[in-house]
């Protein structure tokens, strides 16, 4: 069979196999390049916080019983969240938040104080649609078995802020732009329901098929250009 003829056929059949995925790669890739990553991350949703340690003269030491209960410790960090100084203690038993004004374990924040903190940090115009204490991280944050406050806003991107129930720290933020990014990313690396991914078999089969398609396409292009100039 004449080579050009066979090339076109092969290119065509490979395109039938891999074309849809190349189209998916183009669409998801275009989205990820066009929408700035800082906007994806919702940096515009929150005001920059003045993070200086507040009430620095009133800070007291952590109660020795807490230290001995958790020891040995990895690190002890003093900082402020929403105008309240806290110690973050890291140990093999996890993260413990201590109120730096009392030296005792920090009480869990109430719904009211979460709402207050959300108002303080949120830079957008929308009002709060709902505030819920979730028993574990939602799927979009990776589903860790740990409770978290979810504050949803009434805007067209369904902006959501997440707060730690003990420290009040802003854990994460999400908008539909980010959710779309996550979805397109999974399509980009071909991870379906947690199966596959970049090193998965689907990705390898389709990427290699696409490579062959592109190589045959280039060869075909070379012939066409050469032929048309004769």
């Amino acid at each position: 069979m004449k080579r050009i003829f066979w090339l076109r056929k092969t290119h065509k059949w490979l395109a039938l196999l891999a074309g849809i995925q190349v189209l998916i790669w183009s669409i998801s890739g275009l989205y990820m390049t066009v929408v700035d990553i800082d906007i994806i991350h919702g940096d515009h949703l929150v005001k920059p916080q003045k993070a200086e340690i507040v009430d620095s003269t009133k800070i007291v030491a952590i109660k020795p019983s807490i230290i001995s209960e958790l020891a040995p410790l990895q690190s002890i960090r003093l900082k402020s969240y929403f105008d309240h100084p806290v110690y973050e203690i890291r140990s093999e038993k996890g993260l413990v938040i201590v109120d730096a004004l009392t030296g005792t374990r920090k009480e869990r924040l109430s719904k009211e104080s979460i709402e207050k903190q959300a108002d303080q940090i949120y830079a957008g115009q929308a009002s709060i649609a709902s505030i819920n204490l979730l028993n574990e991280y939602p799927g979009e944050l990776g589903g860790r078995k740990q409770s978290i406050w979810q504050v949803e806003y009434d805007d067209w991107l369904l902006s959501t802020l997440y707060f730690d129930p003990n420290s009040g720290r802003l854990v994460s933020k999400r908008t539909d732009l980010w959710r779309a990014f996550d979805f397109l990313w999974l399509l980009h690396i071909m991870e379906y329901k947690g199966v596959g991914g970049m090193t998965g078999i689907f990705f390898r089969i389709f990427s290699i098929t696409s490579l062959l398609m592109a190589l045959f396409g280039s060869w075909l292009l070379f012939y066409r250009l050469k032929g048309e100039h004769q």
Binding site: I53, M198, Y223
Partner: protein, 338 residues
């Protein structure tokens, strides 16, 4: 059918525009799929897995009094020594928790930390204080201590010259990964930016390229292609195609029904000219129909826009577009049968 042919030409021009980058995207994608990401991150070479060692609280109040605008004060242990790390604005200070004096981050200290946590097979060769940015260290806040080991990965460990903290590791696996990352993001300066105009332009062109490609897949596949495929396993009804040249030479062939003339001839090693490979746009594979059992003259025009009305009336057709569904007699150039 000119409509589809325009897309074929568009596809060709877009291929010229974005083809190389598409190849680079696919190749780098394949590299990412086969590279071991744990090796890239260097976790196998540096184990910053210090056991928790703090058993008592140091005095935070004196540090706070000295740095009242601090945003963060951490107590941690480095090589058995209790330390405070104080963040004041953009600045970071490391202070001895007992004497409250600034910790001296020198070569000896960094080498000691590096040796302690390095878990590769090489030996420490040298420690260099670097303040100029290069491909190897541009991820880190300089100035840094670069500690070189003589292992097979050409390991460079990096530590902040200000705080002594471990910043990361560059190995050959990482360097390979980084190179393909540069190609994938088209980011030939500071790596990691994928929101710049060059890649956005290329991505838009790629979108048109792949959309036109999908349109062509849709339009260029027909029943015939699958018939061809099935015919390989299953006998179909055959027709007789008689080839005649200008000098009277004749050749009769049996050809499967519903197969494109060009495919069928090609299967029997009779090659018509073509540069588009059967796309119907170069017009080189034209043949002249002389006789047919059925009136195929008006049928199956396909992508015949390289022929004008007069030529069509005379019976010229493109072999790549004509499917055989009756006995036919066609005129072909003499060299085809030779």
């Amino acid at each position: 059918m000119t409509f589809i042919n325009n897309f074929k030409r568009l596809h060709k021009w877009l291929a010229l525009l974005v083809g190389i980058q598409l190849l680079l995207w696919v190749i780098s994608g394949i590299v990412f799929s086969f590279i071991d990401h744990r090796v890239v991150n260097g976790g196998f070479i540096y184990g910053d897995n210090q056991k928790p060692q703090i058993t008592e609280l140091e005095d935070f109040s004196k540090i706070l009094a000295r740095y009242p605008t601090a945003t963060e004060i951490s107590q941690y242990v480095l090589l058995g020594q209790p330390l405070f790390k104080v963040v004041v604005g953009e600045d970071v200070k490391v202070i001895d928790a007992k004497s409250l004096e600034d910790l001296v981050i020198d070569k000896a200290l960094i080498e000691q930390i590096a040796e302690k946590n390095y878990i590769g097979g090489g030996r420490l060769v040298e420690a260099i204080l670097v303040s100029e940015i290069n491909d190897d260290n541009r991820r880190f806040n300089l100035p840094s201590w670069q500690i070189n080991f003589d292992d097979e990965f050409e390991t460079h460990l990096y530590f902040s010259a200000k705080t002594g903290q471990y910043q990361g590791v560059s190995t050959n696996s990482w360097r390979t990964f980084d190179f393909f990352m540069m190609l994938h993001f088209m980011d030939y300066g500071q790596r990691g930016d994928f929101n710049h105009w060059l890649i956005i332009f290329a991505a838009i062109v790629l979108l048109f390229f792949s959309m036109s490609g999908m349109l062509l897949v849709y339009s260029s596949f027909s029943r015939k292609d699958f018939v061809m495929l099935i015919n390989r396993f299953y006998q179909h009804k055959k027709f007789t195609v008689t080839l005649v040249t200008e000098n009277g030479e004749k050749k009769k062939l049996k050809i499967d029904r519903d197969v494109r003339l060009m495919d069928a001839l090609s299967d029997q090693n009779i090659e018509l000219d073509s540069v588009c490979g059967g796309g119907g746009i170069c017009g080189f594979c034209r043949v002249k129909l002389i006789n047919a059992d059925k009136d195929v003259l008006l049928d199956h025009l396909g992508d015949h826009d390289t022929l004008n009305d007069e030529e069509l009336k005379q019976g010229y057709r493109l072999a790549c577009q004509l499917s055989v569904d009756s006995n036919i007699e066609i005129e072909v150039p003499a060299e085809v049968l030779s």
